[in-house]
C-alpha cells in the first residue's frame, strides 16, 4: 500500500503583507502587542518611542522592525523621526497613534496632596502627549502620504474615558479630542483614500492599568465589566488590525471594552 502524498494547504499570504505601518509608543504595553500582531500579520513596521531599552527589546524579537527613539511631544523631532521611518520603509500606509500617558489628578484636591501648579502642569503634560503629539505626528505622516498619493489608514488609540471619568480631566479631554480628530480626519482625508479610525479600549490588563489603579480597584473595575474581566492587550491589537483590514470602517470609534459603559 502506498502512503498518500502529504496534503499541502494552499499558501495564504499574511493579511497585511506589503503594507507599511508606523506605530508610536510600541516599546511596551498595548503598543508592543500591536507591534507583535501587525508583524505577525506580515506588515513592515517602524516604531517610534522614547523608551530606548524597550525599542531594543522590540528589535531583539523583530530584527526587521525599524525603531526610532524620539520624544513625540517635540514636534520637530517627531517630524524628523517620521521622515526617517517613512524613508526606511519607502512609504507608509498605516499609522497607529498609540503612545500615551495615563495620569490622574482630581480637579479639586481637598487633601492638599498636590498644588494647583502641579495639577495645571499635569494637564499640560497629558494634553501634550495624548492630544497635541497625535495631531503633530499625524500631520507629518499624512503630508508624506498625500504627497506620494499613498492611500491608507490612521488608527488612533482613544479610551472609553472620553465619556468622562472622575479624576481624569486631562486624560478624558485628550481622548475625547482623539475622537474629534478621527471624525475630522475621516472627512478631510477620505477623498485622498486615507481613512481614520479610533480604537477605544476599556480597561486592558497592562502594567499601566495596574500602575494607575490599586489592586482592589482593578478587581472592582473587572467586576463592573459585564464580561467580568479586563481585556487583554492582544484583544485591543486585534481591533487595530481589524480597523486596518476593513477598508470601509472610517470616522468611527471601535470600542473594545467588554461592554463596560462609563
Amino acid at each position: 500500500m502506498t502512503t498518500p502524498p502529504p496534503t499541502v494547504a494552499p499558501a495564504v499570504p499574511p493579511p497585511l503583507e506589503g503594507r507599511r505601518a508606523l506605530v508610536t509608543g510600541g516599546a511596551q504595553g498595548l503598543g508592543r502587542a500591536i507591534v507583535d500582531r501587525l508583524t505577525a500579520a506580515g506588515a513592515a513596521l517602524a516604531v517610534l518611542d522614547r523608551d530606548t531599552a524597550g525599542l531594543e527589546a522590540v528589535r531583539a524579537d523583530h530584527p526587521a522592525v525599524v525603531t526610532v527613539p524620539v520624544d513625540l511631544t517635540d514636534a520637530d523631532a517627531a517630524d524628523a523621526a517620521v521622515g526617517t521611518a517613512f524613508d526606511a520603509l519607502d512609504g507608509l500606509d498605516i499609522l497607529v497613534n498609540n503612545a500615551g500617558l495615563i495620569r490622574n489628578a482630581p480637579l479639586v484636591d481637598l487633601l492638599r496632596r498636590t498644588t494647583r501648579a502641579e495639577r495645571l502642569a499635569l494637564w499640560d503634560t497629558v494634553i501634550a502627549t495624548n492630544l497635541t503629539a497625535v495631531h503633530a505626528v499625524t500631520m507629518s505622516v499624512a503630508e508624506r502620504m498625500a504627497r506620494r498619493r499613498l492611500k491608507g489608514v490612521i488608527v488612533s488609540i482613544g479610551s472609553i474615558c472620553a465619556r468622562g471619568n472622575p479624576g481624569q480631566s486631562a486624560y478624558a479631554a485628550a481622548k475625547a479630542g482623539i475622537e474629534a480628530l478621527t471624525a475630522t480626519w475621516a472627512r478631510e482625508l477620505g477623498p485622498l483614500g486615507i481613512r481614520a479610525v479610533c480604537v477605544a479600549p476599556g480597561f486592558a490588563d497592562t502594567p499601566s492599568t495596574h500602575a494607575a489603579l490599586t489592586g482592589a480597584r482593578v478587581a472592582e473595575v473587572a467586576g463592573e465589566v459585564p464580561l467580568r474581566r479586563l481585556g487583554t492587550a492582544d484583544e485591543v491589537a486585534l481591533a487595530v488590525q481589524q480597523a486596518i483590514e476593513n477598508g470601509y470602517i472610517n470616522g468611527t470609534v471601535l470600542r473594545v471594552d467588554g461592554g463596560l459603559v462609563m
Binding site: P106, L110, L111, R112, G167, T214, A216, E220
Partner: protein, 76 residues
C-alpha cells in the same frame, strides 16, 4: 445619628467591620482622594457641621476623623 463607622462603610462601600480603628487612606485602597470628597460631604450632612480645609486635609484615618468629630462635640 449614624456612627462614623457606618458613614464610612457606606461611602467606601465596605462592610462596617472593615473599618477598624487603624483604618486609614493607606490601609484602605478604596479610600482615594475622590472618595475623600464624598466622605467629607457625607460627614458634614450626617452630623450637621462644616469642616475647614485644615481639618479635611488631616482627616486621613478613622482615628483622625474621630478626633476632629469629638472636638466638635460629636461622639463618633
Amino acid at each position: 445619628m449614624p456612627t462614623l463607622r457606618s458613614v464610612m462603610s457606606q461611602v467606601l462601600r465596605l462592610p462596617v467591620d472593615a473599618i477598624d480603628d487603624d483604618a486609614s487612606m493607606r490601609t484602605l485602597p478604596q479610600w482615594d482622594s475622590l472618595k475623600h470628597m464624598d466622605l467629607i460631604v457625607s460627614l458634614e450632612e450626617a452630623y450637621g457641621l462644616t469642616l475647614d480645609g485644615d481639618e479635611i486635609a488631616a482627616m486621613t484615618s478613622y482615628g483622625a476623623i474621630a478626633a476632629v468629630l469629638r472636638r466638635k462635640g460629636v461622639t463618633p
